[in-house]
Every structure is written in structure tokens, then in C-alpha cells.
């Protein structure tokens, strides 16, 4: 990494001509355009963009922004703030500890993309640009100006690849593509932020509270988006602005602080999450909330197996199914073969225990082997579970699980007289059925988070990571690989079983097709694995964020319809190409970046 000598954005004149912007405007004009364009975009959101309310979101009024305009407003405001920070305006420098230019580019792009998406959607849906009011044109023009201005800011260009004389068309396309990727990457490149002054403890806690508040707001906004266009705009804006904030170095700052106060952060996050049902006026979004939570919790359990111990489990959802079926059978449901109605704590423990037994049964013969056997066996187990359950219907097999009808009419939980099926009024807020389960599920999530955190930071967790890193060396260091892997596998299974016990009650009915390898509705094994990989392996926040996105995107974008899985595949490929470490990189990755900044790492390239 080159040593960053100066924080001023002026181009270092070392490589002649190598530091132009992508757009040919002079730097000072570009910077002014971006800054002023952002501000004008904010103004434009107060104008009407279209004349009819046929386009959802109330974009017809002068005086206040509505729907997508709010997103543009936020994007424009951030662009301007970053712009002003790049001028060195006092009081704004804290916004950009890693330099402002990359952040300006990303924020301007996000604003531009959201605005143009809106304008094009209006014209497309209402039949032509005639449906735009002047405000719409103004918004389009100023965000374009800001975008062009931002990309006039100079940056250090990557070196061009050597061009082979007789390259084939394929090679040529590949080379050009790589060049474009490299160019875009270096256009928004910023060095690692300079280490921060330590704030007083109360200020750091305030930062955490603020971060939690922002997180809750963004999540609540996203879950509450009422129409496809708003959700698309939301994804564009949040994606680019998050990227901008991390380029600015703010994300690293905040995560350094949350890392220092991890317990406070954890409980803060849970309080914020527990507040979510209280922000909702009806149970509609709490439903989504509780499903996300189930998905996220199971994904986090899988992260112990995959992320920490490095065991590729392709049938993980079966353990959720085992837990759910176990709890359903002892829930007093009329379609259960057992006439049992155990209290919740007992059925939850039972669900976890039975899932663990299955985990050990699957793990014991396979975990002794190295390589991909485990993936294949777990994939098989997942399907065997589903098909067995499907067949235990009294005709093809013993009458236990009721076949494809599943176990239905699972009664609502009643813990200490608190009936989960009823509405309750707490502190003046009315909490519906799904909100009740949301809060219960949150407790389970908390348990899984604590288990993850504590086990990973211990002798056993280090053994898992060691095995993931290099199994031969781990064995040579005295780790009983089989035993340690079996513990990870069984622990993961029992956590999924625990979540399954709640899931059975939330869904009223458990059926075999809820537990497939791949399916359009999460959780299923493929989506669980995707949530872990997309979010960030080995982290706590990663699978939670990954699961939320993977649940919301198909749920919100109904128009994707049959192309859902295709879009999902494309998104995953793009992500792996541009951010292989996942949305939330591991602490180890951060450390890696951190060290690069500290000392030019002399990697092990010397010698043999």
C-alpha cells in the first residue's frame, strides 16, 4: 500500500496524467458541481416531479418530499456534506476520516441512480416524459451534474495490462472487462482511515446508540416500503450510501467503537430490535419481522458450522425441520400422533436435543473423512429427512408425520399466562400475534448470538478456526479434529432445532416442503448458506444482515416472479466478484486491512 502522505485531495503529480478523473472536467469545477448538485437535488425533492398520483408515493406536491423523493433527499444531502468536507469545512472533517473523494463519487452515484430510476419509472409507467413536472427534470439534471462532477475528481489510475498482439476476441473482452473493473475500483479507492482519537466512553456509547437508531430506522423503513419502486429505490440508495460511508471511513470508525464495547453493542442492538414491533401500527410487518428473525437465527447457527469450523453443511435446514416437527408433535396439535402438550421450555429443549441427536448421527460417520464428503452427505440427509417425513403418512410408512399435510393446528404458545395468539397492550402500544412471536424469537436469537460469541472466543472456537485454516497443522497441534468438528456440528444442529421449536408455533403448520434444499421462500439450505456467505462468514452481524436482505428482496420485489432465483444467482455472482468477504467483513479481514495501513506488510514471498 502506498503511504498516504497528505490528506488533501489535490492530485499527487508523481505520475504525469495518471490522476485525471473519469470525466474530463477540471477538478475544481467537478468538486463544485458535485457539492452544489447534491444541494440542488435536496431542493428539487421539495418540488412536484409528476402531475398525477397514479405513480405511487405522492410525488405531486410542492412543499415536502414524498416516497422516493425522501431517498433522493438523503442521498443529495450526504453528497453535499461529503463535498463540503472535502473543502475542509470545519466541523465536517469527522465525516471523512479516510478522505472524501471516493465517498462523494459513491453518494453522487446513489443519488443519481435513485433519481433517474424514479424519473424513468414515472415516464415508463405513466406513458412518456410528458408526465414529468419541471421538478422531475430539475432533479434529473442536477443529480446528473453532481454525478458527472463527482467523477471528474482525479484519482490514481490502475496500470493498463500489456496488450497481446494476437489476442482472441475472448481475451480482448476479458482484458477490457478487467480494466473497467480495476478502473472503477480505483476511482472510488480510498486509503485506510487514520486511527481515531479515542473518544470519552459516554461519547462512544452515544455513537453506538446513534448507529443502532440509524440501523433500526433503515430496517423499519425497508420493511415498511409499500410498493416495488420504493423498495428498489431503497436498495439503490442504501447500497450506495453504505458504500459511500465505508469509503469515507465512517463505517470502520463506528465498528472500531462497537468492537471496543461489544457487550453494550450487542444489547443495544437487541433493544433496538425489540423496539421494532412498537414502531408498527399493525401486525403486517411484524410477520415479515418474525420470519426474518427465524431465518437469520438459523443462518447464524449455520455460521458456527460453516464460518467457524469450515464444515460445508448443505442440509442444514433439516435440523430446523427436526426441531419444528419435534415441537409440533408435543404441542398438543390434534394431528400429532402423540397426545402430549408440553410446556414451551420443555418442547424447545426437546427440539434442540432431538436435532442434536440427528446432528451426531449424521456427523459421526462423515466427519472423520476429509474433503467434500460432508457436503454430499448433508445434502443427502436434507433430502432424506424431507422425503421420510413425507412418507410417514400411514400409507407409505408408519403414521407419524401426517405426510404432505404436515402437522397442523399447532396451538399458540402460552407462557406463564401470556397467550401468544392474542393482542396485548404494553405501555399503550398494541402488540399482535406476530409481534409476540417476534419478541420470543428475538430471545432465541440472543441465545444463539451469545453462544456464537462465547464459543468462538474460547479454546474450542480457536480449535474450530484452526481446523478451518489448516486441518493437518491443527491435528499436529494436538487438536482432536473429529471430536471438535462433531461438537460444532451438533451445536449447530441443536441451535437450528431450537429455532425450529418456535417456528412450528409461528407457522401453525409444519409440512415437509418447508424444509427443502432450494426453494423460493427462505429459509432453505441454499438460502441459508447464501445468507452466511453474502453477509460475511464467521461474523455475527453478517448472517443477520444477509438473511434480512435475502428475505426482504424476494418478499418485496413481487414483479421478479419466476426470475427470482435467477436474479438471486446473478446477485450472488456479482457479490462474490466484487466483495468476496461478504457485506460485513470478518474482524480478521479488518485486521488485515488495518495492518496494511500500519506497516507495509512483508508477505511471505521470500524464500521457498
Amino acid at each position: 500500500m502506498t503511504t498516504q502522505t497528505t490528506k488533501t485531495p489535490s492530485a499527487p503529480a508523481s505520475k504525469d496524467g495518471a490522476t485525471k478523473g473519469l470525466i474530463g472536467l477540471p477538478e475544481n469545477i467537478g468538486r463544485a458541481l458535485a457539492t452544489i448538485g447534491g444541494a440542488l437535488a435536496v431542493v428539487s425533492t421539495f418540488l412536484a416531479w409528476t402531475w398525477t398520483s397514479a405513480f405511487p408515493g405522492d410525488l405531486t406536491v410542492y412543499g415536502y418530499p414524498g416516497g422516493l423523493q425522501v431517498l433522493v433527499l438523503i442521498g443529495g444531502a450526504l453528497t453535499t456534506l461529503f463535498g463540503l468536507a472535502s473543502y475542509g469545512v470545519k466541523g465536517l472533517r469527522w465525516l471523512t476520516p479516510a478522505g472524501a473523494d471516493g465517498a462523494i463519487k459513491l453518494a453522487a452515484t446513489g443519488t443519481f441512480a435513485t433519481t433517474w430510476y424514479t424519473v424513468i419509472a414515472i415516464s415508463d409507467e405513466l406513458g412518456g416524459v410528458v408526465n414529468l413536472e419541471p421538478g422531475g427534470f430539475i432533479a434529473a439534471a442536477v443529480t446528473l451534474a453532481a454525478f458527472l462532477g463527482a467523477f471528474s475528481l482525479p484519482f490514481e489510475r490502475p496500470e493498463e495490462e500489456h496488450i497481446d498482439e494476437d489476442e482472441t476476441v475472448g481475451e480482448r473482452i476479458g482484458r477490457i472487462w478487467r480494466h473497467i473493473v480495476a478502473l472503477l475500483k480505483s476511482a472510488v479507492f480510498t486509503p485506510s482511515p487514520v486511527p481515531a482519537r479515542k473518544l470519552p466512553a459516554f461519547a462512544e456509547i452515544l455513537v453506538i446508540v446513534a448507529a443502532m437508531a440509524v440501523g433500526l430506522t433503515v430496517f423499519t423503513y425497508g420493511i415498511g416500503t409499500e410498493y416495488d419502486e420504493l423498495f428498489v429505490g431503497f436498495l439503490i440508495t442504501v447500497g450506495f450510501l453504505f458504500a459511500a460511508l465505508s469509503k469515507a471511513g465512517l463505517v470502520a470508525r463506528v465498528s472500531a467503537i462497537t468492537g471496543r464495547h461489544s457487550t453494550i453493542t450487542m444489547f443495544g442492538a437487541f433493544i433496538a430490535a425489540a423496539l421494532f414491533p412498537f414502531t408498527q401500527s399493525d401486525d403486517q410487518y411484524a410477520t415479515i419481522g418474525v420470519y426474518i428473525l427465524i431465518f437469520a437465527t438459523v443462518a447464524l447457527g449455520l455460521n458456527i458450522v460453516v464460518g467457524l469450523a469450515g464444515l460445508l453443511d448443505l442440509g442444514y435446514v433439516a435440523f430446523l425441520g427436526v426441531g419444528a416437527y419435534t415441537a409440533a408433535m408435543v404441542s398438543g396439535s390434534p394431528s400429532s400422533p402423540f397426545d402430549l402438550h408440553l410446556p414451551f421450555w420443555l418442547s424447545a429443549l426437546l427440539g434442540a436435543a432431538v436435532a442434536m441427536v440427528f446432528g451426531v448421527l449424521i456427523g459421526a460417520p462423515t466427519l472423520r473423512l476429509r474433503g467434500d464428503y460432508l457436503a454430499i452427505v448433508t445434502l443427502g440427509f436434507g433430502e432424506i429427512f424431507r422425503i421420510t417425513v413425507l412418507n410417514m403418512d400411514g400409507t407409505s410408512g408408519p403414521d407419524i408425520t401426517n405426510g404432505s399435510n404436515g402437522i397442523s393446528s399447532i396451538p399458540n404458545l402460552d407462557i406463564l399466562g401470556f397467550d401468544f395468539g392474542l393482542e396485548h397492550t404494553i405501555l399503550g402500544f398494541t402488540i399482535g400475534r406476530f409481534a409476540n412471536y417476534f419478541l420470543l424469537m428475538l430471545l432465541i436469537t440472543l441465545i444463539v448470538v451469545v453462544v456464537f460469541k462465547r464459543s468462538s472466543d474460547s479454546r474450542i472456537g480457536r480449535a474450530w478456526i484452526a481446523i478451518r485454516e489448516d486441518e493437518t497443522a491443527a491435528l499436529a497441534m494436538g487438536i482432536n479434529g473429529f471430536r471438535v468438528k462433531l461438537i460444532a456440528f451438533a451445536l449447530g444442529a441443536s441451535l437450528a432445532g431450537l429455532a425450529g421449536a418456535v417456528q412450528a408455533h409461528v407457522t401453525y403448520t409444519v409440512t415437509p416442503e418447508q424444509y427443502q434444499f432450494a426453494h423460493v421462500v427462505p429459509p432453505n439450505s441454499a438460502f441459508l448458506l447464501a445468507a452466511v456467505v453474502l453477509g460475511g462468514m464467521g461474523t455475527i452481524a453478517g448472517p443477520l444482515v444477509g438473511a434480512a436482505l435475502l428475505y426482504l428482496i424476494p418478499a418485496k420485489l413481487q414483479f421478479l416472479g419466476d426470475y427470482q432465483l435467477f436474479a438471486f444467482g446473478v446477485a450472488l455472482v456479482l457479490l462474490m466478484r466484487f466483495r468476496p468477504e461478504g457485506l460485513i467483513p470478518n474482524r480478521r479481514r479488518q485486521l488485515e486491512f488495518h495492518e496494511e495501513a500500519e506497516a507495509p506488510a512483508v508477505l511471505s514471498k521470500t524464500g521457498a
Binding site: 462465547r454 491435528l475 497441534m477 487438536i479 506488510a601 511471505s604
Partner: protein
């Protein structure tokens, strides 16, 4: 500087008898006997592909020898590498095998695995016993890092260490399992002369802790300075074993391996050699990497 030949030979620590390792038709190690006594530093030399690493793998349970028996302090070694480590033999690898994405400290902590007991429940419940054991492990690990001179890099990622320090970290990690015998597979490969000298000192210091050392090395100066006894392996068979002078003088060794007589006798001209070492690069120090364990 530590003197080289303090032969306080005591009880037999390692006793390998008739160790043979065949891979299909290839006999990589043939009927090798080797003893290491407590307080000894024993060298194992031989050309590339002679079977030295394979022999190490047989000793540490990574391979199960086709024939022969390995005893550690009188008991036959179990055929699993983690049990061998628990019994008291620790090793390093010819191709460094650190846990690259773990910190330096964590690497050493992993080495403590066999000497600590805390299981999953202890980690989840976090009673006072857990915190005590964890603190003790950390303290011990920091001592070891201090011993090899890496204490100031405890929080760095292992992958970001320079090469020589990675080798040192591997030694610290192996020492963390409190071995009675340490096996070093080419500990100076790829090092510059200064680093090699430092490693020499480190090996003496390890011996002075009461740990017997068996070391594979290509750097002859290193071997003959360090070892009380040297065994030569050629094409899987032990050609000769004896003290440095005997081995260096042996014609078969010279023919098979050294190529030309090693200049000067070890010990008495050591000071001169230090200077010589500074000048000449370690010629044999970068062996092929065809086999990495």
C-alpha cells in the same frame, strides 16, 4: 554464546526402531533406527527426497509406518497426530503451516490445546474457572512469544509476518504444547545468515529448557554447530550416524551429499565461521517443495 557440545545425555526420549514407510512401490524410508536422548540436539541430514520429512511424519502420527515402532519415553506412540502431540512430541513443518488468518497470539494459544481442558460448556457458561484458564493460557503464550521475540507482534495476523518470523512463530506454537521432544523440519530454509544464527541460538535455548530437539536441515554449518549427533539419510536409508566430526569425515557422506569436504572442524573455529557465514549465502537453503508435510 552457548557452547555447542554440552552432551548431558540422559534417558532415551525417542526410540524409533526399524521404521519403514512405503508408498505403493516407492520405499521412502527403509528400516531406520534413531534414538534421541534427553538434553540432546540431533540432526537429520540428507539430499532432497531422501525421506527425512516422511520419517518425521512417521514419528508424529501423520503417517502410520508400514513397519517398525516408535516409542516416546518408553511407550509406543499412538497412530494419531493429535495424540502424539499430547504425548509430548511437537513439530514444525518444512512448508510453514501457520493458521494464517489467526493472530500470532491465537496461533500460540491453539498450541496450548492439549494442555488445557476447557470444553464447550465451560466456554458457554464462562465460570471463574474459564477465565482463570484463559488468562493462564494467554500468559503462557505471551511468555513463549517473548521467548522467540515476537511479543510485540502478538496481535498481528500470522500471514502478515515476514518469513523468518513465521518460522519463529511455528516454533513458539509447537513449544506451547509443552513437548519433551521438538522436531524441526528445515527451520532455517529461506532465512538469511543473521536469521539463521538467531535460530541457532533459539535452538540452544530450547535445549537448555530441557527439551530434546531433532532437526532436519540443509545448512551444514547450522547442523554441525548445533548438533550433538547427526544422522544421514540417503534414499530412505540411514547411511551413518555419529558426532559431527565423524559424519563430516565419512567418504560416503561426502560422496552422497556434501559433494566436497566441509571446511574446518566444528567447534574450535566457530568464531571464524560466523564471519564466513555472513559472507556466503546459505547455498542449500532453498530446497524443493515437492512434498509439504
Amino acid at each position: 554464546m552457548t557452547t555447542d557440545t554440552t552432551t548431558v545425555t540422559g534417558t532415551t526420549v525417542l526410540d524409533a526402531r526399524g521404521v519403514t514407510m512405503r508408498f505403493g512401490g516407492l520405499t521412502a524410508v527403509r528400516n531406520v533406527d534413531l534414538q534421541v536422548n534427553s538434553g540432546e540436539i540431533v540432526g537429520l541430514i540428507g539430499p532432497n527426497g531422501a525421506g527425512k520429512t516422511t520419517f518425521f511424519n512417521c514419528l508424529t502420527g501423520l503417517y502410520i509406518p508400514t513397519e517398525g515402532e516408535v516409542r516416546y519415553k518408553g511407550t509406543v506412540l499412538p497412530p494419531k497426530s493429535f495424540k502424539v502431540t499430547a504425548a509430548g512430541i511437537a513439530r514444525t513443518f518444512q512448508n510453514i503451516r501457520l493458521f494464517a488468518n489467526m493472530t500470532v497470539l491465537e496461533n500460540v494459544l491453539v498450541g496450548r490445546h492439549t494442555r488445557t481442558k476447557e470444553g464447550l460448556w465451560s466456554a458457554l457458561l464462562r465460570g471463574p474457572g474459564f477465565h482463570k484458564a484463559e488468562a493462564a493460557s494467554r500468559e503462557r503464550a505471551m511468555e513463549l512469544l517473548d521467548f522467540v521475540g515476537l511479543a510485540n507482534k502478538a496481535e498481528h495476523l500470522a500471514r502478515n509476518l515476514p518469513y523468518g518470523e513465521q518460522r519463529k512463530l511455528e516454533i513458539a506454537r509447537a513449544l506451547a504444547s509443552e513437548p519433551g521432544l521438538l522436531l524441526l523440519d528445515e527451520p532455517t530454509a529461506g532465512m538469511n545468515p543473521q536469521e539463521t544464527r538467531a535460530t541457532e541460538e533459539l535452538v540452544f535455548a530450547i535445549r537448555d529448557k530441557g527439551i530434546a530437539v531433532l532437526v532436519i536441515e540443509h545448512d551444514m554449518r547450522f547442523i554441525f554447530n548445533l548438533c550433538d549427533r547427526v544422522a544421514v539419510l540417503v534414499q530412505g536409508e540411514k547411511l551413518i550416524e555419529g558426532d559431527s566430526a565423524t559424519v563430516q569425515g565419512d567418504e560416503r557422506v561426502i560422496a552422497a551429499y556434501l559433494g566436497e569436504p566441509f571446511e574446518g572442524t566444528p567447534g574450535d573455529e566457530e568464531a571464524a565461521e560466523v564471519e564466513a557465514a555472513e559472507a556466503s549465502a546459505p547455498s542449500d537453503a532453498t530446497p524443493g517443495k515437492e512434498n509439504d508435510r
